[in-house]
Symmetry: C2
């Protein structure tokens, strides 16, 4: 029975504050989604006795231990050696792996340094875990210890190499060797415009405890909802589908996507499907909305561009905002937002004009318009929307939240629902 896991991260860069250990987070997310219990995460520097300590504790606590890091070619890469020593196995050179490493160097027009041969050595009877993207493969070692049957899984520390190895080789192996027929499947919804506690309440009675499990993950500004179902293989896929359908209906338009996706990717796909173009007029967000839209590959199909109108006279000259509007209502006002949206739509010849103007802080707030006051506008050929919101947080937080509301407005408009009705955030 493989039920519990421990995660080890090795490297001086992790214990000296030079690098944030994101590998452990990625691995625990995938393990938990696959139904395993992560007992502990241990991070140690490149010292044999510290690495040995971590492996000993991992083998004591958990059925499987997954380590990242310490597989490089240099003297301070100690993982393979340490594992061989603590498991009492000899190191053996795998000639096929050695040849492959040599070929990778040749393909780059370089001669393989001799110390790279270290990456072709594995403890006797280890199963090699192929690495398509780097020179260092990983390996798995099955041990019978005083604590019971144990599985040691060793992966490289480079996230780009480690991630596909974990997802394509390690997780499937763990699932097949779980020692139980149960399988775990999960489905994720990405939401915006509702708080974690309100979301919790909304879906509370949707899934009974014996049907499946719901977990929330707040990654500001969105909150993801993960539904996990486990049980017999014959039953689980259908039950997941049924429960996901229930959740889909309940969460409604708070969900902007399912699976690994972003608000900007969702909005982009909708614009593309409808053959519509977008232009943005940004004041307080300073280019962030445009930046996010253009983070999506192929966004030139629907993104015309935008005007970053930071100074008031740029709002007038580049967007046609009237000086009387600025004088009467101020730069942070719904009338200004409307004229910005209408102006950028016309001048950049787009189907949809989107605008944001607000006070990101820390200065510039007044009693009537405190820091976090942000007005949005959306203009099409025949409609105009605008609304004022009271957002919160520091400068970057306000900007990020404002960019999310702006993108959500486009999504809501394209769904045919009132963008002004977006979520709990409106004032």
């Amino acid at each position: 029975m493989i039920r519990t896991a421990a995660i080890l991260s090795t490297g001086d860069e992790l214990t000296t504050g030079r690098t944030v250990d994101t590998n452990s987070n990625f691995i625990s997310d995938k393990l938990v989604a696959a139904g395993f219990d992560v007992v502990s995460i241990m991070v140690v520097g490149d010292y044999p006795e510290r690495i040995t300590w971590a492996w000993h504790e991992a083998l004591r606590q958990a059925d499987v231990a997954i380590s990242t890091g310490g597989l490089g070619p240099t003297a301070d890469d100690l993982t393979t050696e340490t594992v061989a020593q603590l498991s009492g196995r000899r190191l053996i050179l795998d000639t096929a792996v050695a040849d492959r490493i040599r070929q990778m160097f040749e393909a780059m027009g370089r001669v393989m340094p001799e110390n790279n041969l270290k990456q072709a050595q594995f403890p006797q009877s280890a199963e090699i875990i192929a690495n398509a993207l780097g020179t260092a493969p990983g390996f798995r070692l099955d041990l019978d210890t005083e604590h019971g049957r144990r599985h040691l899984i060793v992966l490289p520390g480079v996230p780009r190499e480690m991630k596909p190895m974990l997802e394509e080789q390690v997780i499937p192996w763990l699932q097949q060797n779980r020692g139980s027929n149960d399988i775990y499947l999960s489905h994720v919804f990405q939401t915006f415009g509702i708080s974690e506690s309100a979301l919790d309440e909304l879906v509370a009675d949707c899934v009974a405890a014996d049907e499946g499990r719901i977990a929330f993950r707040a990654a500001f500004p969105q909150i993801s909802v993960r539904l996990t179902v486990h049980g017999e293989p014959a039953v689980v896929p259908q039950r997941l589908e049924q429960l996901a359908a229930r959740l889909r209906e309940r969460i409604g338009t708070y969900a902007y996507g399912e699976g690994d996706t972003t608000m900007e990717a969702t909005v982009g796909a909708m614009l593309k499907r409808k053959g519509l173009t977008l232009a943005v007029a940004e004041s307080c967000t300073g280019g962030l909305v445009g930046n996010r839209i253009t983070n999506v590959g192929g966004s030139s199909a629907y993104m015309r561009g935008g005007i970053i109108a930071y100074a008031n006279d740029v709002k007038q000259q580049q967007l046609g905002v009237r000086s009387s509007t600025l004088e009467t209502h101020g730069a942070v006002s719904e009338p200004t937002a409307v004229e910005m949206a209408v102006g950028v739509r016309q001048r950049l010849n787009a189907d949809i004009g989107l605008s944001v103007t607000g006070i990101a802080g820390p200065d510039g707030g007044t009693p009537e318009k405190p820091v976090g006051t942000v007005c949005f506008g959306l203009a099409t050929a025949d409609k105009v929307f605008s609304r004022r919101y009271q957002l919160w947080g520091n400068r970057e937080w306000v900007k990020l939240l404002a960019s999310q509301v702006a993108l959500d407005w486009v999504r809501r408009y394209l769904l045919g629902i009132d963008p002004m009705d977006s979520g709990i955030l409106k004032r």
Copy 2:
């Protein structure tokens, strides 16, 4: 003698992949800068036996153990209770802390829930560590164990609350109670435009091993260089200054700042000092340059705004790029970059016009202009600069690197050195 430290992070969100543990990174960075050796980082979920295991291992391994998380008011917040138990101390209600928590709730117009009183309980003889920003204070407990004198430091998990508590209370206490007269001081340089290995070579003979220690930290796209000096209090400040001066001269204009700063803050401060204004014309970066400039509070003093010219006809109509230029040289070319910079400068009435146009990928590359080809332009009243670079990485990477080069061009121009000479990145 306090020399070694262990770090504990507690919370189910950390072992289920919902949250990346950034606290441990922050704490190890500060500990290492203050001259302590971080032996291990342990992360466990909210289970008493797992938290107890982590504390036991920490006390065995290290002179001081610093924990974050598990200080909330709910039933799954177990840190204080666990520490009391393993140290054999009773929990005692601190009435002053209880009153303060009650007042914090009253100030928000709310009644304190009874379970918040839990946050006013501490193990007997614990030293309270004040929390200016939240309801849960931390505490320190000094224990004589079988392994020797040990110090348990317990902090809340909310980074915003934990960070000032660590920097203002914990680190100074550790330094005072190190049990040695030695002090540790450090100085940081932020650099751009040079690789870590080239930087290493550049400064290699600058600081002898017995004078101080140099550590690099790559936080793409910048690399920071930290100089740490330790020794007797009478000697260290002056030696730090001397070595920093040596490094400053050696690193030269690769360093865009010292201490905790960003490229956009450096550029902003320079513009402000010189009373100059900036406008940006962005194609492939899609607003990222503007976004970064406006991440700096008070940027309205020098930021006029910008044009996000994603579509070619927007480059023509909003920036005045000539169709003949686009036809002859293409949108990604130095002549187009020049006309974008000149155009945005004139139209937005700025002292400096800055432009970026390139191929961020994954599509759009050609043999002549592969993905990562980016052209930059900078225009002033009497000068124009332009150059083509070959950048690398995925779409977001190319955009981020391009925004950094663009900002670095402004910095270099304002320093009076040729912006086109920026670093190792040019083609």
